[in-house]
């Protein structure tokens, strides 16, 4: 059955910090189907890393739980849903504030949501205390016109 999306993948893993790199690399590899630039890919990796880290340190704290990542490709848009069944966010507005952290003892910078918001086009937070949190992020991959201009001296591809 063909769904609403051009492509979709789902990941589920334990809330272990060693999975932070696994999650961001996997999402980036999947999103690379849209032919993003190096900068767009690194923006996506950073945003995924922030959201997954939040699940591990805040949602589940010292307990182990399941982190779910769904990535969808819709035309030229990457949509990433990262969810947990952890403790939930009491005050979303406060959590979004730059430099706000409940874990300053762990040298956390409080920049997680700020980075997600500035590296992605759209970030939505759904959270219910005691039930869990779902972050939905979107980023449009810009279609760049590649002109194969052959310069006189060198055969170089120019991206215009």
């Amino acid at each position: 059955m063909r769904g609403l999306y051009d492509n979709e993948m789902k990941l589920e893993f334990l809330s272990k910090s060693s999975n932070e790199a696994f999650a961001r690399i996997t999402v980036a590899a999947f999103a690379s189907q849209l032919d993003p630039t190096i900068e767009e890919i690194s923006d996506i990796k950073t945003a995924v890393s922030e959201a997954v880290t939040n699940c591990i340190i805040h949602a589940y704290e010292d307990e182990e739980g399941i982190v779910k990542v769904v990535t969808r490709l819709i035309n030229n848009v990457v949509e990433i849903e990262i969810s947990d069944s952890g403790k939930g966010i009491e005050n979303i507005e406060l959590a979004r504030k730059p430099l706000y952290t409940t874990k300053s003892n762990l040298e956390r910078s409080g920049m997680g949501f700020t980075i997600m918001e500035s590296f992605m086009d759209e970030v939505n937070i759904n959270s219910v205390v005691g039930i869990g949190t779902k972050i939905t992020m979107k980023k449009a991959i810009k279609k760049e016109e590649v002109q194969e201009t052959i310069s006189e001296e060198k055969n170089t591809k120019l991206i215009v």
């Binding site: 910090s17 060693s18 932070e20 790199a21 961001r24 190096i38 900068e39 690194s42 923006d43 990796k45 950073t46 890393s49 922030e50 880290t53 591990i56 340190i57 762990l106 040298e107 956390r108 910078s109 409080g110 920049m111 997680g112 700020t114 980075i115 500035s118």
Partner: protein, 107 residues
């Protein structure tokens, strides 16, 4: 992480060789603190040439070490940051307190 101490200049060079995220920061922090307390350098140079990824965990790590370097009366500087890392550093405002130097060769 690799480290090199130049006694003549009281300079400690710390070359970070892994991706910086929440998972790796604890180990990196321990190593950095060990080296800093061992040499009490007047200047710390962080070579980021081999850091291909850094998220906000790195911001916390850097601000923490910056505070330590201030406490011992030293300075801290980042060299050879890759574009992806530089974007996170600039966005977070770290560049306002820690100097980023471009294109410095460290042997």
């Amino acid at each position: 992480m690799k480290s090199e101490y130049k006694e003549l200049d009281n300079l400690l060079i710390l070359k970070i060789t892994e991706e910086i995220d929440h998972h790796t920061t604890e180990k990196i922090r321990r190593k950095m603190d060990n080296e800093i307390t061992r040499y009490m350098p007047r200047k710390i140079l962080l070579d980021f040439n081999e850091v291909s990824f850094m998220d906000s965990a790195g911001i916390g790590l850097l601000i923490g070490r910056y505070k330590t370097s201030r406490l011992i009366g030293g300075t801290m500087e980042i060299v050879n940051a890759t574009p992806a890392v530089k974007k996170v550093l600039e966005m977070s405002g770290v560049t306002r307190i820690i100097k980023i130097t471009e294109g410095q060769k460290i042997v």
